[in-house]
Amino acid sequence: MNKDAQMRAAINQKLIETGERERLKELLRAKLIECGWKDQLKAHCKEVIKEKGLEHVTVDDLVAEITPKGRETGFTMLRRLVLNSQGQAVLLPQPSRLLRL
């Protein structure tokens, strides 16, 4: 819905404006490294590169190969990270909390 899209855009903008988005991104990266997501992805990269040959790797290739996998695993990690905060300390803010007034 337009309103939703508007809403989303507005929120995004606000996030960027206040710098929260950057901070959240940093936080997320740190968490992903901690839980090993990056190493998994690196192993996958190595395989891709060995396949493609070291000399001929391009950014597009890498992006095309890695991003889907990365997104998937990232999401799983994220859900785990967020869900871990059942009763205890919040690792990543739950969506409701994030947007809660």
């Binding site: 206040t18 890498l62 969506p95 409701s96």
Partner: protein, 400 residues
């Protein structure tokens, strides 16, 4: 925007500098000073809420329910993850192109070499526990089979080159010397008897002790290395007790010593007393005896009231000197033994006789026999034995 992997990020987002926690407290303006507090999520969350709150106040959120909010949040997170992936791709690509992507890998050969070992009885490096305990080595010196862990100390003692081994050896020699001293003295005396009179050569014939450890107890034993050296400190240095071993002293030393010290020779240690001339342990008689013994009948006690007549003893004087110098210190001449008889015997007539007798036999019994004969001749303690003096040398000439 490419991600930097450092913790601190400096970026520019809509006119603001972001550093550390990056938040500014004033409204957006390009020249604002960024705050330098460390990244704090709670603060950022609070600020996010505030900003969202403000925003949502603008737009009516009544239509939004929880699920929608959650969906929006999920989308935001997805974007973030995708950004991270992209950033990661850039990193990898750069690493590949610069050639450092595979640097942290090891080649498969090394991997096989250093693989973790998981067998019973071995550690993860494949080494056997306690391997060196049971191993035995053959000592090259004594050809014995020694346990490996005990090999080094054994070798040290076997070769006699370590610090401990020399200490132990020295101590052992010192102890054995203590026990064997009387016998060794006799042998030494025999050697001395065979020599002609030469104070120096006799000393040289002894084993030189200059290579001994100065700190070992051995040092206290008879050190006959200095010939005629007038150093009073040396005897002191070499003796643990308070006495002096008169064997080592030359005639000049003795003389100087006897003028300053008691000098009475103790029976059990065979050393001269180093106390003052008036030391209470010994009588004046003993002191005089010693002086006469060492310096000949012509010796005068430094503090003595009476004086001996020395005229008649010229003949025996040189004899006395000779024999005295050849004397190697025995138990015969301990005044504390038989005080009066000794003094009497020493007084008159030939030290040479005394020493020659003792030279031959070296035992107390002979001494006593001599004493017996001496007491027969010598009568008084302090009287001048002038009358018996002349005949006595003739009597004992045969013995000499």
């Amino acid at each position: 925007m490419p991600e930097l992997s450092s913790g601190q990020r400096v970026g520019r987002e809509s006119g603001r500098f972001l550093r550390c926690c990056g938040l500014t407290t004033t409204p957006p303006s390009p020249c604002v000073q960024p705050c330098c507090r460390p990244l704090c999520y709670e603060q950022s969350e609070r600020r996010l809420h505030k900003s969202l709150q403000m925003k949502m106040e603008e737009m009516s959120l009544s239509g939004l329910d929880n699920s929608k909010l959650e969906a929006i949040a999920q989308e935001i997170y997805a974007d973030l993850v995708e950004d991270s992936c992209l950033g990661f791709c850039f990193e990898v690509h750069r690493a590949v192109k610069c050639g450092y992507f595979f640097l942290d890998d090891t080649d498969p050969d090394s991997m096989k070499d250093f693989e973790i070992v998981d067998q019973p009885g071995l550690d993860i490096f494949g080494q056997v526990f306690n391997q060196w305990k049971s191993k035995e080595c053959v000592c090259p010196n004594c050809s014995r089979s020694i346990a490996a862990s005990r090999f080094a100390p054994h070798l040290e003692k076997c070769l006699g080159m370590g610090r401990n081994s020399s200490r132990i050896a020295n101590r052992r020699i010192a102890n054995s010397n203590n026990m064997n001293k009387s016998e060794s003295d006799q042998e030494d005396n025999d050697d001395i008897n065979d020599n002609d009179w030469s104070y120096g050569s006799e000393k040289k014939a002894k084993k030189r002790k200059s290579d001994k450890n100065p700190n070992s107890p051995r040092r206290s034993k008879s050190l006959k290395h200095k010939n005629g050296e007038l150093s009073n400190s040396d005897p002191f240095k070499y003796n643990n007790s308070t006495g002096i071993s008169y064997e080592t002293l030359g005639p000049e030393e003795l003389r100087s010593l006897l003028t300053t010290q008691c000098g009475v020779i103790s029976e059990h240690t065979k050393k001269m007393c180093t106390r003052s001339l008036r030391c209470p342990q010994h009588t004046d008689e003993q002191r005089r005896t010693v002086r006469i013994y060492f310096l000949g009948p012509s010796a005068v006690l430094p503090e003595v009231e009476s004086s001996l007549d020395n005229d008649s003893f010229d003949m025996t004087d040189s004899q006395a000197l000779i024999s005295r110098l050849q004397w190697d210190g025995s138990s015969d001449l301990s005044p504390s033994d038989s005080g009066s008889s000794k003094t009497s015997e020493n007084q008159g007539w030939g030290l040479g006789t005394n020493s020659s007798e003792s030279r031959k036999t070296k035992k107390k019994k002979s001494h006593l026999s001599l004493v017996g004969t001496a007491s027969g001749l010598g009568s008084n303690k302090k009287k001048k034995p002038k009358p018996p003096a002349p005949p006595t040398p003739s009597i004992y000439d045969d013995i000499n």
